[in-house]
Symmetry: D2
Subunit: 428 residues, 4 copies
């Protein structure tokens, strides 16, 4: 963790300017009838889970560029996560990925997390890679595989992941499948879907009390012709077939070009099947870039749907917020600090939308003013709001700079062995 004194000094140096900005914002919002404190209280409730798999440098099929001080184990990843939570005060939980994060002593891991002030969010299974010694290969599918032996192995893995999750106090299983095909004909399109449904039903039936299943969809990659759960419609069919505790998970990067994602979010809210999010951003495919870094307005429009549903009190509306990114060129800790900030800004802006006015303009067909109502919120510089929420809870006014001031990465670079240069991952 970062030395409290460093954090204090960081905040002290920025305090005067921050207060000035906040005062002005309070005055400005008051003009529109918005009470700063109310917004701050709502904003303070926002929490998002950190992915263990995004704590080290990510890569592409063309290569990976390791950085000094990367975490090598789940224990080290938790340390890094604790720093992110210390600076943002908005990431109290970590989402593990198995078997990557498997340990011998689960109690020790849980205790380690607790000592760091962290808990565990949804657990993730992995049937898109073969593990050493594994009897059957997932090369041609897992829960949808034509061979029942492969399906049984994949089901067993998921059940095992749930058991590990119970050890850690998790209450949700996220299922993302790489199942699909690269060529027309390779896979029977209907039967593979039926098999996934049957496999998921076995896992769903074994879910512990209070657990949810979150089903991801994705149109392509690593399968390049068809995937078994290709879009929200397919994920919805599965969630409908499984039952109330099965819901859909929206990964912002898992959509075809030009998709209106906020509209999908609205549809899933409308039928009570929005289970949660994997936040990230993308310009082309599943780029796994920093959330809000490419299409900040889109991120705001997604949060606008979420705040709208929360305000309305849509029954059962309780989405899980998680980050899923690949940090290929940024320091992962810095990137996650920035990500949390982007998410909070989008949320803060959505909180500022004058919903009464918006509703009025929508009902009366005043297109331009309805749009302006959203834009007024979007164009507000909510930086001071987000910083104030952090400050009040003991975090940093500017987490990225505070992190740099702390020298944490350099210290870890000394403590943790540098990984070897990563060779061509997509090639033999």
């Amino acid at each position: 963790m970062i030395d409290a004194e460093i954090l204090e000094r960081h905040n002290r140096q920025r305090e005067a300017a921050h207060r000035r900005d906040l005062e002005y914002l309070a005055e400005r919002l008051a003009r529109s009838g918005i009470a700063l404190e109310v917004v701050l209280d709502e904003l303070a409730t926002f929490e998002v889970a950190l992915p263990t798999w995004a704590m080290a440098a990510g890569g592409t099929r063309f290569g990976r560029f390791p950085i000094p001080g990367e975490p090598r184990t789940i224990f080290e990843k938790l340390e890094d996560a604790a720093v992110i939570h210390q600076l943002t005060r908005a990431t109290p939980r970590v989402s593990p990925h198995f078997p990557w994060d498997v340990v011998d002593d689960w109690a020790a891991l849980r205790a380690h997390a607790e000592a760091l002030g962290l808990g565990f969010d949804a657990v993730n299974s992995n049937t898109f890679q073969d593990q050493p010694g594994q009897p059957h290969s997932y090369k041609l599918g897992s829960l949808s595989h034509a061979d029942p032996a492969v399906r049984r192995q994949a089901i067993a893995h998921n059940l095992q992941v749930v058991a590990w999750g119970q050890e850690l106090g998790s209450t949700a299983l996220t299922v993302w499948l790489a199942d699909g095909s690269n060529y027309p004909g390779q896979m029977h399109l209907r039967r593979s879907f039926e098999r996934v449904q049957e496999s998921l039903a076995e896992i769903y039936a074994a879910l512990p009390e209070g657990w949810r299943m979150l089903i991801e969809y994705k149109p392509y990659e690593p399968a390049f012709y068809a995937t078994v759960i290709q879009d929200w419609g397919s994920a919805l069919l599965l969630a409908q077939a499984l039952g109330e505790r099965a819901q859909c998970l929206v990964d912002l990067g898992h959509h075809l070009p030009n998709t209106n994602i906020e509209l999908i979010v609205a549809r899933l809210i409308g039928v009570g099947k929005l289970g949660g999010f994997h936040f990230n951003d993308a310009k082309y495919g599943d780029d796994d870039l920093t959330a809000g870094s490419i299409k900040p307005y889109q991120l705001f429009l997604v949060f606008n749907e979420l705040v709208d549903a929360a305000r309305e009190g849509v029954p059962g509306f309780r989405p899980a917020y998680m980050i899923d990114q690949s940090h290929n060129v940024k320091d992962p800790i810095e990137a996650l600090l920035q990500t949390v900030d982007h998410l909070q800004r989008a949320y803060a802006r959505a909180l500022l939308v004058d919903r009464e006015a918006l509703s009025h303009y929508q009902e009366t067909g005043d297109v331009l003013m309805a749009e302006r109502t959203l834009r007024a919120a979007f164009e507000t510089d909510v930086g001071p709001l987000v910083a104030e929420v952090r400050r009040r809870r003991g975090g940093a006014l500017d987490p990225v700079l505070a992190f740099r001031e702390s020298g944490y990465r350099q210290q870890k670079a000394r403590e943790r062995s540098t990984p070897a240069t990563a060779q061509a991952p997509g090639y033999a």
Copy 2:
């Protein structure tokens, strides 16, 4: 209609070569254990409905280029449709669009069609344009409009369309909505969908015995930010909410870039909600080009799913086949003749797929051979098959050339007044 003698002469001139090609194909198929006659019989069952709105030259927002001899009324459109059916023997029904095709005397229209050997397929309502004297505008929506008065007007129009359809012997209502928004904020995303569902429920409740409702989806155009029924997932939710006789209609051009359409077809078949098709093709958006003209392999893969479902005997599988195209640069009759040929070729190829072998390769994970099984069917030149089906039923070996030989268009150009030059439709 075209003079029988012309048609006969056309076929006679091509007969020798045709027989030769057919003989070879029979021999070739026999080698793979396929009986030509069986395929011919199955192929002969294929029928597709012609759209009245595609009988005259189409256009874009930038303009329309009329051609001499275009039909001006539904009566003239039926004449042209009869010629298409005469030459192809595969288009015995016409799909009307209201109010464009409204007439004073429905009995006369029905008699006219019957005299031409034609019947009526699904009727289409139009709430994407304002009609002269209409009390409320559809500028900001119809069945989803925030104003109940507009919704009532749109519901009433649909009920009226059903009534007209009953006059004509139709048994299905196709609903395509332009409802949507051009700007974020313009429309409440969830409420507009709820309103569509309520409106459709009123129409559904009033459907005559034996009727189906076919619900189209479309991601954009003419709405450019969000549409109310944007994808198959949304159409499915509506069809589920309405009941068994509500199904989804797949227009091949109504998808985002890179969408795997055959996969959607498989999903809809899987849940018994595939209502039918609007056939066309596209490279970019809803281009409404000749079916199979841009992505012939995709069209084959769609038909592959259809034949697969039919062979399997999926309960309730009974999709309606319709064409929906815009003929901006081709003679509409010629384009439709070519379209029917393309559709039959895709169907014929799908019939040639060795499904037993395919299934075997899929189950044993032989990716390349599974793909090759599809390709073998796709690469077969099925022209002789399709021509033979036409010939046996009294049609033309080469419909487009037979049409040209008939001089039909030139005759109509003399009989029908030439339309005025079309001015900038997208501009004031």
Copy 3:
């Protein structure tokens, strides 16, 4: 024009809050070493041309919804343009489209514009529609047509447009071609391009002293398989072949999905071939929505390249700024007022970028801080800046609301006959 008193009252009512916002912004910018006055001065130089064709309600191939008070002639369009300039003080020129805007008395038109304080920007030719009495049709192309007679007609039209432009004091010809093909084979891909080049060379050779030719590119619509000038690469080849006064025009809506437009802008700047812009926005195709309404960050990134080039003093950098939108659901005047505001905001934000810091982070490989430098500018609420620039030059603090307060549209609705309901433009 709008009564000066109404405008004054409008500003008076908002003055106190505006001053407060501006003071704070000045203080905040000063903290970052930016002088408000310098930014205001630069921002005040921004001017953008209004398109005459976007003054009335636009439409799609599915229909057009006219609004009361639409302008019917170029004279009325100039009146509306004058109101936009009065309120924004940033649109002193109008871009005409011929033959739509052809008049009998050019001197009268020019005098009318001058009286309204307006001049004329680039003139646009139209070879995508047939005009009554025109000997040859553009159905299958104009400057690229296989028939030399059609090309000659299209060349003559362009020369005529230049002559008309001279009457009006214009100094640029914008050429957008609908030339292309809907089906493979329709057009010889290489020869059609060669013919366009030859045709443009004739027009270029006849350009008056001081004139520029701006060449648009577009991947599709109304041609749906291939266009003759499909992308910036093709436009560049033409501009290179023609000469120094031929440059490329970037219409923001004329790109394939996911295109990085700011990168194209950078490339064209780099070779001195960025002629200008048609501003608008899009989510799917050439949607012609309000600039900045869908992807505000992209618009900022485009302006970032422009400001960067201007600051660097790239030789010959002198892009023409024009709007090209279709106002299907908003009041066109309001939409244009909003558009100008959006453009000015994007420009203002680009002016705030700390280029020295940015350059430092780029050179030292500090990815996150480089990005943050852009974001800091983007997240600044520049509304007060833009409003102040308008106020100082006699415009409105809030142009849209001032326009509504003026009652201008209602008055025109009384004066100008309401257009008839627009019928199915894409259909016969």
Copy 4:
């Protein structure tokens, strides 16, 4: 290599049916005035280079599934390539990738290739990965890097690759750069392009006599916001700046959604800058699937442009044909055998196009018949043609089946050690 007897037996078993198919095709083509022998002679000239990097199982960032018998060295890759050439008689050259294919003894490698009947095609440099011991990292770019030391290292590597290529008798350098940025602001868009141009100029200046430089473009991956050579326009600018021996290389997977690739091919032919191809196919991104497996009509349309240019005798038209694929689920040798067959089929079909008729229909504006002329060629089953070309040159009638009959892979699986299970390449 495969036992000659096995190959002979393979062909003998299929000979009768093959002769029958060929006879019919000859008769059929003769009807259209096409001499089978002429087509066979032209088809026999088609050669395509094999990529060494696609001889082992490929992977994605999510994993790689090794197969038994994969080649481990360039020597083993050449053995596999020799088998492909033995069966297809169309792949006499191999394209190496450095430093992956670096050896100690170049003469030995060259001799090994010659003994196998193989030569070397274009050499590929690799500046998208860091090699052990390399002083500077390519994480943030290579030839475009802001740091001149990194650029010098990358230039030196390319010069080294050329030197290695000379050892092997190669005469072309293919440059594909991963240079780009993941976030706005990361890279100065214009300056990074200028730096690439300067770096390439140094390499170009050092090219040996008779060598060409082939410049690839790619819109994204592994850079996810902007790439330095993003499209053919950018590659063209570089090729123009460098000189006559610099040309553009079209990788079919390196395009944005919906791109009309054959149109780009036509443009590059038109300016003499089409250097060659990396053949593959894709549905979504750079999927690197079997050429022609997803969009066979597109592949035909590309070859249609190539044949058209060859027939016309466009000066300097001499494209290099290479394959660039990733074989994630198919046996790489089988996939390459299938690929060569697909390419030959596309070429054969393009040879069958009646160019005189096509030209006539294009000039007279007969859209439908022009399209039909292409389709007639495309729909011809050219399998017998392609098989006959192979047979006459000593290859296999059905290369994939012949390969399976040979037991080659099983033998190699015994000889070559099985690679370890590949772990999560995109993750730390």
